[in-house]
């Protein structure tokens, strides 16, 4: 039975993804804050892999004739959201980086002025 085998492969892939995420958090290379989205992704893949009827149901509900297209659409939307999220994260980091550089430069000039004043 091909569908059954596909289910198993998908489930194993999802579990592998979940394990990699877990390991990244454990070794402190990934903060919980950013892991939440990835865990959600892994769990969604796991559910879709095991519950094969769900994809058709979703496709029907949205009016997509070919269920795999629904999967691609879903994946595309999710990846888009993830990328947007990272753009906001990078913006924040860039902002904080600028503030740090300014504070450091101001401190340095103050230290310099104090030294020459003495």
């Amino acid at each position: 039975m091909t569908p059954f085998r596909v289910s198993i492969v998908a489930a194993i892939a999802a579990l592998l993804l979940l394990f990699v995420i877990f390991e990244l958090i454990r070794s402190r290379r990934l903060q919980e804050r950013y892991a939440m989205l990835w865990l959600l992704t892994g769990i969604v893949i796991l559910i879709l892999g095991l519950w094969r009827g769900l994809l058709s149901t979703i496709a029907d509900a949205v009016g997509i004739a070919y269920p795999p297209s629904a999967l691609f659409a879903l994946a595309a939307v999710f990846i888009l959201l993830l990328l947007l999220h990272y753009s906001t994260v990078i913006s924040r980091l860039a902002d904080q980086n600028r503030i740090l550089a300014q504070r450091l430069a101001l401190l340095e000039s103050r230290v310099e002025e104090n030294r020459s004043a003495r």
Partner: protein, 258 residues
Amino acid sequence: MTEPAVTSRATATSLRDRLAGVQRVAVVPAYNEEGAIASVIAEIRAADPDFDIVVVDDGSTDRTSDIAAEAGAHVVRLPYNLGIGGAVQAGLQYARDHDFDIAVQVDGDAQHDPLEIPKILAPIVEGKADLVVGSRFLGEGEYEPPVTRLLGIRLLARIVSVLIRQRVTDTTSGFRASNRRAISLFASDYPHDYPEVEAMVLVFRHRLKLVEVPVHMRLRGAGESSITFWRSAYYMLKVLLALFVGLFRRYPTPQEDR
């Protein structure tokens, strides 16, 4: 009802003797608390004049830093908002760098009553604890949170109690005291975002001693707590994830620890 008051006064005097020469600092994390910060500082002074006070301004956009400095506190001004975890850790790094023996965290929103500080210090001075947490749920005061929050608080308390094999009741309390060992641990490793819960487990994993003492807390003065239902649900999930993953980490015992 008068008897407990008498005993607590007696312990307070002997505590004062034992505190002689013990360098202690109050770490006050504050984010936009220009309204409350001056009175918090004054109250800590009144409760124990020998306290050094360091206000960690977590990127406030109001006059929190200026007011704290005018009130005579040391001010550590973070360049931008780090959240409570980063702010408290900065305060504990200050405590470590300036060689303090005990650091007490007192929130800048006047929620914690500085008159309760001696109770939190006592177990450390007596050598019974490395970290002391003031709990609202051990009989003092009549703090009654909304039902959903109470459920969350109970659940976290239950989980943490199991993880650290010791009964705890108030895992989210920020009213706590650390000795040198705990200061040095937290200065180098303190959880992000919602740090109080994880810090308790961290202390256990590093084989430090944790003691809870009953305290009463005031209701938040200005403004409602900013924690909405969905946000707390999200934080809850995140904390549970962090606790779960934390179980699989290996923790070295701190250097000073024999």
